[in-house]
């Protein structure tokens, strides 16, 4: 088979938007594999190193974080224009993150309540996924992402193949691992049946229900799960709260939360919901 990988090492950039850095750190967390990664790609920009201007072009851009300021919205367009492949990593970049909770409320109210000098704050009314602003080539879910999936995506890109990141349920992960179902055997509410696999089966292995960190799976039937959560003793508000977490603004989770506990319309003029495309 002729060697497909180009001789020149591909240039990799890692970008940060509104986020906690946890996903980028997964890359540094790849201790055993980091040298191999550094060997295979030229790490051209990594926030943890230095703040440089957006030069490029880059072969791969990994983007962490959501778009929450006018400056973000402008910056992601420039990054997209300089990236051959753009991969978003984590719940912030793929669904707006926990900070997307503000999408459902009056942001001006928050700003006035939290900051001594609200006039210093320049923010959008919403925190939205990167996909709502530019074309994205691949989305890696998770809060935080799994380092093995991150390596798999880089690896697949370097070798010109499709990443093995199945969009199926967390339940399949439980069964492959031989984990006993906490919902059936203990009556513990679990979001696994509507959540995408990928975390490595963290919570059910320790007798906890899945918190939905990896966001909606393909074709999630959240309404059917909500009925079962009710049968297990959850109130509507509990169900809404469970769906309003790291992936609160992922469409399926947002709709299910709203169906169980509709939110009051945002007060004040600044609270108008400015949803991005496809959000």
């Amino acid at each position: 088979m002729p060697r497909k990988v180009p001789k020149r090492r591909p240039k990799l950039a890692v970008w940060k938007f509104s986020s906690c850095d946890g996903c980028q750190l997964s890359l540094l967390d790849c201790e055993d594999e980091l040298l191999a990664v550094a060997d295979a790609v030229e790490i051209a920009y990594f926030l943890e190193a230095t703040r440089v201007a957006i030069h490029g072009p880059y072969d791969v851009s990994l983007v962490e974080g959501s778009i929450s300021t006018p400056h973000d919205a402008e910056r992601i367009r420039r990054i997209r224009a300089r990236s051959k492949v753009l991969i978003t990593i984590g719940a912030c970049a793929t669904a707006g993150g926990i900070q997307a909770l503000r999408n459902f409320r009056d942001v001006d109210g928050f700003v006035r309540a939290v900051y001594a000098r609200p006039d210093f704050i320049d923010t959008l009314a919403t925190s939205t996924a990167i996909r709502d602003h530019v074309t994205v080539d691949f989305e890696l879910h998770g809060c935080p992402i799994s380092k093995s999936q991150l390596l798999e995506v880089l690896n697949a890109f370097l070798n010109g193949r499709r990443p093995v990141v199945p969009p199926h349920s967390q339940c399949i992960e439980c069964k492959l691992h031989g984990t006993v179902c906490v919902m059936v055997a203990r009556g513990v509410p679990c979001l696994g049946p509507v959540t995408q696999a990928g975390c490595g089966n963290l919570c059910p292995r320790f007798a906890r229900g899945c918190y939905g960190c990896f966001g909606p799976k393909e074709t999630p039937n959240t309404a059917a799960l909500a009925k079962q959560l009710t049968a297990l003793g959850w109130r509507d508000a509990d169900i809404a709260n469970a769906f309003r977490s790291f992936n609160a603004d992922a469409e399926a989770f947002r709709r299910e939360a709203d169906a169980n506990a509709p939110l009051p319309p945002p007060a004040g003029e600044g609270g108008a919901r400015a949803k991005g495309v496809g959000g």
């Binding site: 055997a185 049946p193 509507v194």
Partner: protein, 393 residues
């Protein structure tokens, strides 16, 4: 494999004996001594799973499993019984047909590449506590994987035997257990698959309850089983022991938690557009738990991995399910987009098209898919709803 229906007694070896708790312990010790890794039903994380056991102490003494749609709980039962529970979330396919298997590995070699198939040693498992429904499921998978001939549409499959499955299957020693108690979701009787093991085992145990102390009727089903039985400390079984064992199995038969309507295969085949499919699809999570726990479901997908340099590749086979979208992906897209089409695929395959394909039912009535469905969707209830609607004309 020379395993047959229960032996005829022509052999000089004992064909049946009564074992007590020490006898059961001696059975496990003898199997371990013969080089088998013994896998049996033991308690883990609130359920009875199939894990390695080292002695009779590891078994699930005095535990009963309450099972219903989407619900499983262990409660105390008769402390002198080791097998009064029924089947748990795992089936033996986990050991005969592991969730992940390496198919081959490749290494770049100049301008070409070399392919190697992994030469993993075949595990010698002794399966302790295989219920009739799961023995029947093994016989079903024997057809699927080309180990046993059959008359179905995919006849001739034995020319394409899955060598890994065949090797693990041939190496396994099987200790069946005839059920003395049926679970809340069991319906093997209406599938003709239980509750008494009909053959395909080396030894079969029937627990004799009410003796005050543990007692098991042990019957040999193969020459290997008879030879092993001869080495165990037990006493000869009399007609009254056999009668007690039969009564115990009849007790299970009389208390099946569920039943399948007759002729479910043709029933489903003529009702592919029934409105019930949409109703069940509205409840179904397409989570795939039912296919993962089913002892006959055999579907897998292929995953390729590479190292960063691309010099080393691996091809893996992983359990997959007709409930995933990618499962039906063909050129241009997935053909089973709706939950309805996916649920219908699963249920009609189990009960109907399996007959055409492999000349048998794909369901043995173990009830796992009912218990381990997080929302308790019940294959017997779905079949009955369609059946009853026909009755209403």
């Amino acid at each position: 494999m020379e395993r047959t229906a229960p032996t005829t007694g022509r052999s000089a070896l004992p064909e049946a004996a009564i074992l007590d708790r020490e006898g059961l312990d001696a059975l496990i010790a003898a199997l371990r001594g013969d080089g088998y890794a013994v896998i049996g039903p033991r308690l883990r994380d609130g359920a009875i799973v199939l894990d390695p056991v080292e002695s009779a102490d590891d078994l699930s003494w005095g535990l009963i499993d309450e099972q219903d749609g989407g619900r499983y709980r262990l409660v105390p039962g008769d402390a002198q019984t080791a097998f009064s529970h029924t089947v748990g979330p795992q089936s033996w396919k986990r050991h005969l047909y592991p969730p992940r298997q390496t198919l081959w590995t490749g290494r770049r070699d100049g301008r070409g590449f070399t392919v190697e198939t992994p030469a993993d040693p075949v595990p010698h498992h002794a399966f302790l506590g295989v219920r009739a429904c799961d023995l029947a499921a093994m016989a079903v998978q024997d057809r699927v994987f080309g180990v046993a001939p059959h008359e179905g549409r995919s006849a001739g499959q034995e020319r394409f035997t899955d060598s890994g499955y065949a090797a693990r299957r041939a190496a396994a020693f099987i200790v069946a257990v005839n059920c003395g108690r049926a679970g809340g979701t069991c319906f093997c009787d209406s599938m003709g698959a239980g509750p008494k093991a009909a053959g395909g085992y080396d030894l079969a145990l029937t627990e004799l309850p009410g003796c005050g102390t543990p007692a098991f009727l042990a019957e040999a089903g193969s020459a290997t089983g008879a030879a092993l039985l001869a080495r165990l400390p037990g006493h000869a079984a009399g007609p009254q022991d056999r009668a007690a064992a039969d009564a115990s199995v009849e007790q299970a038969r009389a208390h099946m938690g569920r039943a399948m309507v007759p002729d479910a295969g043709p029933l489903l085949a003529r009702n592919l557009e029934h409105p019930r499919w949409a109703e069940v699809a509205a409840r179904c999570l397409s989570c795939a738990n039912c296919t993962m726990v089913c002892p006959t479901c055999f579907c897998t997908t292929v995953e390729d991995t590479t190292d960063l340099s691309g010099d080393h590749v691996e091809r893996w086979r992983r359990w997959d399910s007709c409930f995933t979208v990618d499962f039906s992906y063909i050129h241009g897209g997935a053909i089973r987009q709706s939950g309805l089409s996916r649920y219908r695929q699963w249920m009609t395959h189990k009960l109907s098209s399996w007959w055409e394909q492999f000349g048998t039912s794909g369901c043995t009535g173990c009830g796992r898919c009912i218990t381990w469905c997080p929302v308790g969707i019940d294959i017997t209830e779905e079949a009955r709803a369609i059946h009853d609607s026909e009755g209403r004309g």
